[in-house]
């Protein structure tokens, strides 16, 4: 487009839009839609963009038509065929005379507003740290334009479009609310870019300057003067939506520009004032007791509030404990284990002989300082011996349940309840250890657990778990697997039982020490028969501990 043609066109549009409201805009559009000019498709596109530029500048002027009417009018004009309409117009869906929907790309002389996008859920604002561009710079699509800080994160904001920075609206150190316009970008290929050579007037700037001067001189519908008020179109639309006179607002932006938050703050303060006034005028809730008359009381009666609170049964306060860290790990681990189909197998195991042997060995065998020879090392060694015959019980299974990893090492975990919480360290390679060595290792792990000093090595790599809750109390348990292991045993407390002899209870009954054990197993990979056979083998070794001698290597 030649500069002279552009200036003539601008002048005609300006004259056409001098009237107020709808008529002016309609007149302007007719100028744009007229067919008595030899407009190229490129110029037709420019005309439409210019039309929108003017309609948006007038806060009182509603677009006279939606895209449908624009299309209808355009179709009437053979020089303005629909196929030349810019693609941006196609985005104006539901665009009617009473509602303006802001498209992704504003046809405002090719100027788009770049807002501060959401940088996190619940984050309402960010601090602007620095700009990487300045007014007049060209930016590429996805190029960084600024950096903000939210929470403890620095976030680089990039441009969605390619164009020239026309205006920067915040300074480093400013707090920017999410959704506020950070800067304005003149799109590449917009009206300002079309057919302009170096030195020629910038059409977009000229249109804007005309529009701004019009904005300054045009009075609003209520007759107040908007002179000297600077605000981008989106802010003007927001003010109009809330019925706010821009002249009443003090702008906090550059050069006194009214920002979006200025309007919102003004609206909020106005509503607070209204609430105060309303509360003063409301009938008080506490109504005096109605006099005893035959007439019904009009005012509401409320149950009188006692002067002092009633005495509570107890003075404890609710406590809210966030499930984080160790607790969350526990919750997740148990949730994962809950997804595993467990089955349980319960057995009673005699430990009288084992108790006798343990007592005899404890008296004669020198032990390291701090090492105790309890039942547990024997139970653990017996467990390992049984695992040699039923190695499937010493397995781990992958999350997808595609393979069973039968472990060669018997890393038997022992659940320990400490003052710091529940931990499950494991004794490595029990198959290679003697009962004494197991006892020593157990003592070492107990000491570390009680002093909160277990290492990663101690608490990882387990293959099967023993939970000796009977040391505290209880006969039976339903243990939950320590995934990805496939088996776990819970050992109840040792107790005495009396078994009747063949003739019944005649005073000569034998009493026996027993423990109840409950096996929990992953039914996806282990069946009941395997667990039963395995438990039988283990039970045999415990009830007849001399058999351990047979398996010595």
């Amino acid at each position: 487009m030649r500069a002279s043609t552009a200036r003539a066109l601008t002048s005609r549009i300006a004259r056409g839009c001098q009237g107020r409201g709808r008529g002016g805009a309609r007149s302007g559009f007719r100028v744009l839609a007229s067919k008595d000019e030899e407009f190229s498709p490129q110029l037709q596109s420019t005309k439409l963009q210019m039309y929108h530029s003017f309609t948006r500048q007038f806060s009182s002027a509603q677009p006279i038509c939606g895209h449908r009417e624009a299309l209808a009018m355009a179709n009437q004009n053979s020089d303005f065929p629909t196929r030349t309409l810019p693609s941006i117009l196609q985005k104006f869906r539901g665009f009617n005379s009473s509602e303006v929907r802001m498209p992704d790309v504003e046809a405002n002389g090719g100027i788009v507003e770049i807002p501060l996008a959401q940088t996190g859920e619940g984050i309402a604002d960010c601090e602007l740290i620095r700009w990487f561009v300045k007014e007049g710079d060209m930016v590429d699509e996805f190029a960084p334009v600024c950096e903000v800080q939210s929470d403890k994160a620095s976030v680089v904001i990039t441009s969605r479009y390619k164009g020239k920075v026309s205006q920067i609206l915040f300074s480093p150190g400013d707090i920017v609310k999410v959704g506020e316009t950070l800067m304005e970008l003149m799109l590449e290929g917009s009206a300002a870019e079309v057919g302009l050579s170096k030195g020629e007037p910038n059409l977009s700037t000229e249109i804007q300057s005309i529009a701004e001067s019009k904005a300054k001189s045009v009075k609003s519908e209520d007759g107040r003067d908007h002179s000297s008020v600077l605000a981008v179109p989106a802010v003007r639309a927001l003010a109009k939506e809330h019925g706010v006179d821009l002249a009443s607002i003090v702008g906090t932006g550059k050069d006194g520009r009214i920002m979006k938050h200025d309007v919102l703050n003004y609206v909020a303060s106005r509503e607070n004032v209204h609430d105060d006034i309303q509360s003063l005028n409301e009938t008080p809730l506490h109504v005096k007791q109605a006099p005893e008359t035959s007439e019904p009381s009009v005012s509401r009666e409320y149950t009188p509030v006692p002067a002092e609170p009633s005495r509570s049964v107890f003075d404890g306060a609710d406590t809210c404990i966030p499930i984080r860290g160790h607790r969350r790990a526990m919750a997740k681990a148990m949730t994962a284990a809950a997804a595993v189909p467990h089955f349980y197998y319960v057995e009673e195991i005699g430990v009288s002989k084992l108790t006798e042997m343990k007592r005899a060995l404890s008296e004669g065998v020198p032990l390291e300082a701090g090492v105790k020879l309890t039942h547990l090392p024997f139970l653990i060694k017996s467990l390992s011996m049984a695992l040699k015959k039923y190695p499937l019980m010493n397995s781990v299974v992958d999350e997808a349940v595609t393979e069973i990893n039968v472990r060669a090492s018997h890393n038997i975990g022992v659940a320990m309840a400490t003052s710091f919480g529940l931990v499950v360290p494991n004794i490595k390679n029990v198959q290679r250890l003697s009962v004494l060595e197991i006892a020593a290792e157990l003592s070492r792990l107990i000491h570390l657990a009680n002093t909160n000093s277990l290492s990663t090595e101690d608490i990882t790599g387990g293959t099967i778990t023993v939970s000796n809750f009977g040391a505290i109390g209880g006969k039976f348990g339903m243990p939950i697997l320590n995934v990805p292991e496939v088996a776990i045993v819970a050992i109840g407390r040792m107790h005495q039982i009396v078994r009747p002899n063949e003739t019944g209870f005649d005073g000569n009954e034998d009493s026996e020490r027993v423990i109840n054990v409950t096996w929990g197993a992953d039914h996806r990979v282990v069946d009941g028969a395997t667990v039963a056979h395995f438990c039988n083998e283990w039970k045999l070794l415990i009830e007849q501990p001399e058999r351990l001698v047979l398996t010595l290597q």
Binding site: G120, D151, G325, R328
Partner: protein, 254 residues
């Protein structure tokens, strides 16, 4: 087993924190790979400030100038720390497609790191992410900061293996302190990892082991990294504040 994305692991000891931060910024902005940097200690002691924040509000500037402590401005957000030979630095640099985080927002990233670290601190009860800090109960042992850029993020932590109270005195009580601090003195608010774990080696091994659950770690070294890095211009936000700048901040305060 789910596929574990690859991650390069760089282990350093006593590496300059300034050069570490420069390297981190370069890896974040100019590469598309996943990285884990672990640096055990830095010398001499230094103060590291977040991307924003005024020295006069956060530091005893006069003491800092008097004692010649370096003040470094880093490219990530967050607050101010003093680091020395007893600080263990752990940094994660990831692409968004390598982590199970739908949106690269600060909070989801932090929650994900908490889960990542759980196996490393399994033996210590009370581990959790509390507001923005790693704590045991209500005692902080690690502070965090992030930098998020298009499709990638960096999350780094300075763990207090041990610390000297005298050095902590360079830091002022920040205006924005976490709610759970409840006006406690600094010494009552933080704790030492060495009081909870047998050795620094075990601690670092625990972290590597924990990360290995989610990533396929491949150990590398500085020379190998330098050879692969291209000389691409990038945002360079890490710098040392000069004495003039620090003195100027005192003027501004007044």
């Amino acid at each position: 087993m789910a596929r574990r994305p690859p991650m390069h692991l760089l282990r350093l000891q006593g590496f300059s924190i300034f050069h570490q931060l420069k390297l981190e910024e370069r890896l974040l902005r100019t590469t598309s790979q996943n990285w884990c940097l672990i640096n055990e200690g830095t010398s001499p002691p230094a103060i590291v400030m977040g991307i924003s924040g005024k020295p006069e509000q956060l530091l005893d500037v006069k003491a800092v100038i008097r004692d010649g402590i370096s003040v470094i401005r880093r490219f990530s957000g967050g607050g101010t720390v003093i680091v020395d030979e007893n600080t263990v630095f752990v940094t994660l640099i990831c692409g968004g497609d390598s982590v199970p985080i739908p949106k690269l927002y600060p909070r989801p990233i932090m929650d994900w790191t908490e889960e990542l670290y759980v196996p490393a601190f399994r033996s210590i009860p009370g581990f959790q992410l509390r507001e923005h800090d790693y704590v045991f109960g209500d005692r902080k042992f690690g502070g965090n900061a992030q930098s998020i850029t298009r499709g990638r993020f960096l999350h780094h932590t300075s763990f207090l293996w041990d610390y000297q109270d005298a050095r902590m005195a360079y830091l002022r009580h920040p205006d924005r302190a976490p709610a759970y601090r409840v006006n406690r003195q600094h010494s009552d608010f933080i704790c030492r990892l060495k009081d909870h774990l047998p050795s620094r080696e075990v601690f670092v091994d625990s972290i590597v082991h924990a990360f290995d659950h989610q990533f396929s770690l491949e150990e590398t070294d500085l020379d190998a990294i330098q050879k692969t890095l291209t000389d691409v211009p990038h945002l360079n936000s890490t710098y040392v504040l000069s004495t003039c700048q620090l003195e100027e901040s005192l003027t501004q305060k007044q």
